[in-house]
């Protein structure tokens, strides 16, 4: 144990703390795994939730994904980012869960829509920069989550992986098993649809109870 403390407190030359932890866990120090994944636990949960849309299932899948990552940690190679590897495992777990439970059947109607068709923005009112304080309000976060949840699955998944999980386009394509061109197309539509949904929400009143400047957008 003394040797372990020395190693962890004094990472090797050129090694980040994360690399050091990966190396230690790969050598069998499983008790360090939580420290390794802790920075990503929220992102893992969000990825699972984006696919399953159920908090209990998402938490269960997030835990399963972490356990799977632990049991396969020796297979992790430094060519990929550890966070991307974790998200990949999570997405696979969530997709398997969804297939098992056949929830995809309940939300397949919109998915048949032609994604190659052009999306035309609907709201052209002035926007200004969103104050970060807006996110402190639970109601705002809830409305944003609802808007995201209203997207078709294929748009929601791409948007979450790219804009929330911060994977790049290529990584998003690999994780979802689709082409880069599809990722770009879906991402464009997801962003524009969310923009319209949020603008509509504001004019519809769900920001009206917030103390924003009268006559302007809340951001």
């Amino acid at each position: 144990m003394a040797e372990l403390n020395v190693v962890v407190n004094n990472p090797g030359p050129g090694m980040t703390r994360e690399q050091e932890l990966i190396s230690e866990v790969q050598r069998g120090h499983n008790e360090l795994f939580y420290e390794l994944v802790r920075p990503y636990e929220r992102r893992v949960y969000a990825a699972a939730l984006a696919i399953l849309r159920n908090e209990a299932d998402a938490e269960d899948v997030a835990q399963e994904a972490m356990l799977k990552a632990l049991s396969h940690i020796r297979q992790f190679r430094a060519e990929a980012r550890f966070s991307t590897w974790l998200i990949q495992i999570t997405v696979n777990e969530a997709l398997m869960r969804r297939r098992r439970e056949r929830t995809a059947m309940t939300e397949g109607i919109d998915d048949r829509r032609d994604e190659e068709g052009e999306y035309t923005p609907r709201d052209f009112a002035d926007w200004r920069e969103i104050p970060s304080e807006a996110l402190e309000r639970k109601e705002v976060r809830q409305k944003l989550a609802e808007a995201l949840g209203s997207l078709d699955r294929k748009y929601r998944e791409v948007f979450v992986l790219r804009d929330m999980e911060q994977l790049n386009i290529q990584e998003t394509a690999e994780v979802l098993g689709i082409s880069v061109a599809s990722v770009k197309t879906r991402l464009l539509r997801a962003r524009l649809m969310l923009r319209d949904l949020l603008a509509g929400g504001w004019s519809g009143g769900w920001f009206s109870r917030l103390p924003f400047e009268k006559g302007s957008k809340p951001w």
């Binding site: 636990e41 938490e59 999306y119 976060r141 929330m164």
Partner: protein, 208 residues
Amino acid sequence: MVANCEQVWREISNYLEGDVDAGLRAAMDDHFRTCQRCRSVIEGTRNVIRLYGDERMIEVPAGFGGRLKKRLSHEAHDRGSRWSTWSTWLVPLAALALFAGGLRWANSLTVEHPLQSEHAQPGHDIPPDMPVIVSAGARDFHVAGCPFIHDKDKERTLTAREAIREGYVPCVRCMRKYLETASSGVPPQPEANADADLDEDDHRGGGQ
């Protein structure tokens, strides 16, 4: 190069990704300067990306981290226990296997067991101290003078008890009387010429 509104909407996501060439970027920048609608679209899209990219947008259920940590701890402990349980069994098993292997090896060094015949029978009422002849590479033991002793250069004299202990079986010719009383099934069939020889011997013996 001039970009119209439709082109801008089509490329707005790539524009924000920095994934358009310099000519298109310049054309879109020009367009944004003059088109308020498209400026609204790009500002709104930027806001969406900024808003959802904020860590605070990812909310986990209360106690999520604690539950995850607990489950991972259990798994880490279980893995240790599984190895501990396995090692509890594996060490004595490995020792036993080594001991058994060692015994077999040691045994193989001391006695070279003869091949066992499909007709081999243990015999019956063979006097244990009766001197018998064995030879290396053969599987039978014989009474002295048996014409079926092969490789006479390598023959040894043992007691019947020793020969049986070393895995030899009675010769079906010269030890016949011990075999016939012992056999409960189909008796061994001597070769025709050997039988003839034995019959001759018997006959000669009987005639003497």
